[in-house]
Symmetry: D2
Subunit: 472 residues, 4 copies
């Protein structure tokens, strides 16, 4: 087994920085040393990390590789997507296996295993999207929790006719989760009401991408979030995790529930922290389609200051995690399905590669601390989804998923810069970010160095997860 | 230098547990190992910690050794008090040096150094109580921050005529703290209004200890907390730390400020988490005097559920820290000064020895997690008061302040049980607690083992602190 | 035309009391006089009202005479129900005409006119329940507002498969109301989730009436109320009126919306202000069926203090109106349909006769003022539903709907006392109330005196209503 | 006695409009008639009010005629001030008698009676400012309530060294008010903290009038308001009335207390509803001095939208009353005392003449309804301060204080327009307002007609007031 010593760096953990050398032995971390204390250790390789940060590899808990959606497929495979993730310092993804309506849950899971198995550059796990809620699927929930390392299940209050679950289904799934300990993940938008607004907009001839944003008002995200929280309470207080929060109203609902001591959590995504409707969806012509995702990117001219509120929520831990909701579609042949009808544009943005970079910019900008960067992008994801301390921390015994980060360099994002996702455009074209990935280890193996992917297809292993370790 | 390997234990940090061996070399931690990886290391001693928790030593940020107050002195010296602290798994205290009105600040500090120097069993630092706020004392604040390792200053909205500062003084001190980065610590009770109620109660012949509680309504703690928060905002948003929070109303004010993203923090104490007015202050005769402290122990029959709210606040991090406000007085000759007039009872309770134990009981009771126990009792105290990672974490390079905790044993608290404080009674007489201190190291030296203090007077060293590392 | 002088009384209006004589001339009030100033006026009759209150006749805006529901019909006809109302000092009711699904709205309205026309003892108007929301029914809304004096429309978030509207329908109706000025009245309970709980309870063999209450948790009333408020906002801020509020959570949602300046209003009913689940639904055997209504009567052992909160809401005008939701069913042959299955018990309680009495008891108990009694039971109902100043105030030009109230007498409620509703039991059996109806005039005609109905069938006239006059 | 019939008008009361003729007989209203019903009544004069509003005379509960303040005296005498008030449709003022520190309360009251007696054009009453709180002044409170028709007492949390009361004094006065039923009126600004900011600004050479505004941040008004509410609660829940509210933070505190059912009330003034710091205090040179009053006129660039919030609070009844805080000073010799030092500028603005006009503009602008205009400017003032139904309502038996208002005309405000106050400038110069005073009656006597004062000095009579009639 290869032994590597990462030396001279500043290890960043969720409570702060320590000057530690990190000994990697095979796939795991063998030891941490005070400076100099690891001097005589025999190693195969030394990675010099002076004036660099040494952080636990990023964990992106919300990706959709190869997702069939909107009449096409998300354009990243597990291979291309995980390579891109690795380039950006992410060493674990949690993707969403899908049970289609009418399908046996385990079959849906098997299909996703088949897609990922042998293809991933980094470790991966699955949440399960439940297309049906009935006796069979509820039993399958128990089975997956107990036997398959799948401990989180996603439901949708949006997308009627596609993934949508009504309150009967939501309540029943939550009741089961209250019993088996699973986390319920919720896409919280009132899709029923949104569809009325969408149809009315189209009937008025409002077909451009920007109407995607205008027909999904933030109050309807707040409403659904509140409803999910109430139903989770009625169901016996199952852990509830609101995915891709974009709206101040939703944040208020989560913050209030948390203030009451509830196990209610939220994630947001870089697009909601940085982008505005005006500079994305509302671009002239069809270009805005690149940024069509749900919930939509919000406007600073709303009643609420969504972006400032999300940053604040992230600081104060009302938002626990930053994920990407990586769900890339090319403009050509994919996004273009919605020319003349924004409701036909496949919903999704690619971003798995850039999350660590974009959030590090938040550190540089003074929005969050270094420790909070690591906590929201790695440590809490691991704890939330039952992978700690295997993942999410630089500690002896943990998987040697390690990123060496160089704060003195810059990263140019976009297809004209750093870009390894299978997309014909970038949502972040032209962004120049302070800081840069230097070296990435996945389970003790260097997979990225000198901007180059040096790992191998299939190195990534499925992570069987336990129950949430983040309950209050 | 002595080398010790603590082996087989479960290390608890603020984000969870890891199975790590801990190598201590001299005064600091030299390395952490995955199980087995430290097998061949040469050590002088091995501490077997299987089935035990290995935690960073407790940090009690609120003690008053030898405090002159109420016409007498707190009954623990720095020697007796720090020995007691060590017995309970606390390896650092932050005590309050006092500038009396009219005194040069540095002289007050020197007096406290004189009391502590050469006497402490464990490490210690000082906050500074400012009895005056004027040009001289404000300059002294800068000096202490820059040169003396004193970065936190306490003011009182209670005790008119003693420690009380009016809003002019508070505002000016806060303005200076906004500039020099110090934390303002606040005893937040409206002492002006309380004194009216006290005088009226005494005039009605209500002289028993319970009237101490009844004349300090929780809304007046809430009011003062709100006022302190507002003044800190006006002053330029200096970090504000509310000490010994006891009341739901105060918690609400802090939670609201935090929800707005403010650097407002709070601590509570075990007495507010466990005890009730009825079973303490309201005991027949004068016995209630044992529990006379300010703010007072609250009643469950209040409009608010203070205890449940404080536990909830502690879980959700609206309360960041648990300290003791250790300020012991004996009944004989001390508390007895207030027979016939509760307002003459010296205010204070002893508890420095029992904080880690009492909070571990919160873990057993399901109120908080193991990780949260360590975070609130050690890691956050270190971060809040500028001592991380020297203190507050088990990490290579950190001071080897380590407690081995045995969760399978029990601790009998009280003068008839474990009790090393210089008091003729215990505030917790008869409490039997799950879990027990097994071994305590202070800077690499075993100071407690087999229930016995094996350290030495003067081992404890003054900790020069930096600025708050817990700002959002 | 008959001229009546009501002399010597204290006229109570929404802002207080005045000593005024009231001259009735024909159907309307002709003049108000300062004491003595009407001395010489020629009248046919003088009603001596010294030491009595003279108030505008009560307006009950929520009744269901002859409602087909739960496989039977509400047991009061417009004749029996309005006679009972008159006995209790109510001189106007607003009943709910029903459009069944698939029916033409105007046909539903015509059917209700046919039931009421020629049968009522007092004046009456209609709200319209919309069973369908589609282009036809939306056009009908406009028509009814413009031409039929129907300016308020009720939807149900409860009762799936019966009256239930989904969010599509609710949003579309609210959009139309935002345009035409109508008030949307909402039965706000999440009936979808409730039905899950009901089926689960029945499956567990929990069939007694008390399970009706336990399967309708108050948070699901709060959730639906919040959702209705959000949808009304998305729809363009149509006036929203929450009917029969029973829960603190719902009150909080309304209060918050009102604090934001929204045109959101609420009513509650005497059963929610006075009765508890334990002393009604939970009575042994099947007796609890008498009090099966939705939302259910709440328990004082809930997390919230619903009753105290509702009284407070009523005082502070977060609750604007008290109605009865009068929907009586006899035990025999009606309530008994649900023996062995609480979900089969027809939902509803009778109370149209007792509202003024029960709320006057609130005055005696110190819960509300005399002025607030009149305001919530008469003046605001008239303003809310477009009938002011024809109804709701003692003023020259207004309909002479006048109640002389004797505060020195008592009223014994129940089938063994005052009871004129067509029910074989009373929900208020045995209540003895301070105060008593002395004389009731409907449009200038005495209809109740000496506890006797002296009016005539068909005297009551349909009231064509205008738009809401209570908007902020 | 003169008999006048006001015919054809629309009478506006707090719950809406009625078409009524008003018969005045001597000093009071004798009767109200439905149109035509008063046709044959013998009268001395008929006032034609077709297409006009007939409203109860305005009541300004906050004026300071001849107030000694800031080294000078408010420039309106009771004579000039009440004539100006009458011109603007105000028929009652409540002025503040002052007990200076060290003075016997009754002597202070006598001094104000001496100033007003025989000089007023309209009726007047007094609140009492208490300069001392001690046993004597507390006894005097009881005496004034019981014997002198003075039932409201004002304290100041601002103006240290002048009117300032500390929390001891406030608490004791509130305790007494809880017993004797008086209303405590509070100037709620933390004057202690403000004085620090003022001194610091002056020391920096910031002497212009705008710094008056910048040194009185709105959070310090919010803080004091919260403190007053808490103290009133501790004191036994005396009625608390916050005067001249200007800040969103203060409104939030009042709204929250009201939401909890507390008897906490607030007034605001036209200057806070319409003016901005930028267009007043911040005018170049010394002109801003015209608008120096406390609290200061706020900026729209504050964190809060104070103006919008105040209008909303007024609509929703979190603000109950609009007064003027009329306290005029001339620029020459008075305001000019503060040239070079804004803290020397006498605090106050004149406005008693324009309140009804300015608030009617709020009706025209859609901010409030006609009914709410009358309620906030006349009815609630009468109820709040124990004068109903003598004042505040058009009802038989009430004082014939009546204003005929012409909505078809306009009013030009300013010394170049309508202006009768003894000031050498107007705070509202150039404002053109929709609507115009047509005729004003004071106790049955026409005092204003055709823009001319036709009353007489000394007509105004002292109003002995009862306790607050607005408690919940």
């Amino acid at each position: 087994m290869t032994r590597i010593l990462i030396t001279g760096g500043t290890v960043i953990g969720p409570s702060g920085a320590t000057a530690n050398d990190v000994l990697v032995d095979g796939e795991t971390i063998a030891a941490l040393y005070a400076p100099g204390q690891g001097a005589g250790v025999a190693v195969d390789r030394t990675i010099e990390a002076s004036r660099k940060y040494v952080i636990p590899g990023g964990i992106d808990v919300h990706t959709h590789m190869e997702l069939p959606f909107g009449g096409t497929f998300a354009s990243d495979t597990f291979e291309t997507g995980t390579v891109a993730a690795a380039h950006g310092g992410t060493t674990t993804i949690l993707d969403f296996a899908v049970q289609r309506s009418g399908e046996v849950v385990q079959d849906g899971l098997a299909a996703w295993h088949a897609k990922a198995d042998g293809n991933c550059a980094i470790d991966y796990g699955f949440h399960m999207i439940l297309g049906d809620i009935n006796e069979d699927s509820l039993k399958a929930m128990d089975y997956l929790v107990d036997n398959e390392g799948i401990t989180s299940f996603k439901l949708f209050m949006a997308y009627p006719g596609v993934f949508y679950s009504d309150d009967v289904q939501i309540l029943r799934a939550m009741q089961r989760a209250s019993d088996n300990g699973a986390v319920i993940m919720m896409h919280a938008e009132n899709g029923i009401a949104i569809d009325v607004l969408v149809q009315q907009a189209l009937a008025r001839g409002e077909t451009d991408p920007k109407y995607h944003g205008l027909t999904r008002p933030s109050v309807l995200e707040g409403e659904a979030t509140n409803r999910a929280i109430v139903l989770a309470g009625v169901a016996g207080n199952c852990p509830l995790y609101i995915v891709h929060m974009s709206a101040s109203e939703a944040l208020e609902a989560v913050a209030e529930a948390r203030h009451e001591g509830r196990n209610v959590f939220a994630e947001t995504c870089p697009q909601y922290l940085y982008l505005t409707l005006e500079e994305t969806l509302a671009k002239p012509g069809f270009e805005g389609a690149k940024w069509v995702c749900s919930p939509p990117i919000r406007s600073p001219h709303d009643e609420h200051h969504h972006q400032a509120d999300l940053w604040r929520g992230l600081r104060m831990n009302d938002i626990a995690i930053v994920s990407t909701d990586h769900c890339p579609f090319c403009m050509k042949d994919q996004k273009e399905l919605g020319i003349g009808d924004f409701s036909k544009i496949p919903n999704g943005m690619g971003g798995v590669e850039h999350r660590m970079e974009l959030l590090y910019q938040g550190v540089v900008n003074g929005e969050i601390s270094l420790a909070r960067w690591v906590e929201t992008c790695s440590t809490t994801p691991a704890r939330m989804f039952g992978m700690y301390p295997k993942k999410g921390i630089i500690a002896p015994g943990s998987d040697a998923d390690v990123v060496v980060w160089d704060p003195t360099k810059q990263t140019h994002i976009g297809i004209n810069g750093k870009h390894h996702m299978n997309m014909d455009h970038s949502s972040w074209e032209g962004y120049v970010i302070d800081g840069k990935v230097d070296t990435v280890l996945s389970r003790g193996t260097v997979v990225i160095e000198r901007d180059t992917y040096v790992g191998r297809k299939g190195w990534g292993r499925f992570v069987r997860r336990g129950l949430c370790q983040y309950l209050v």
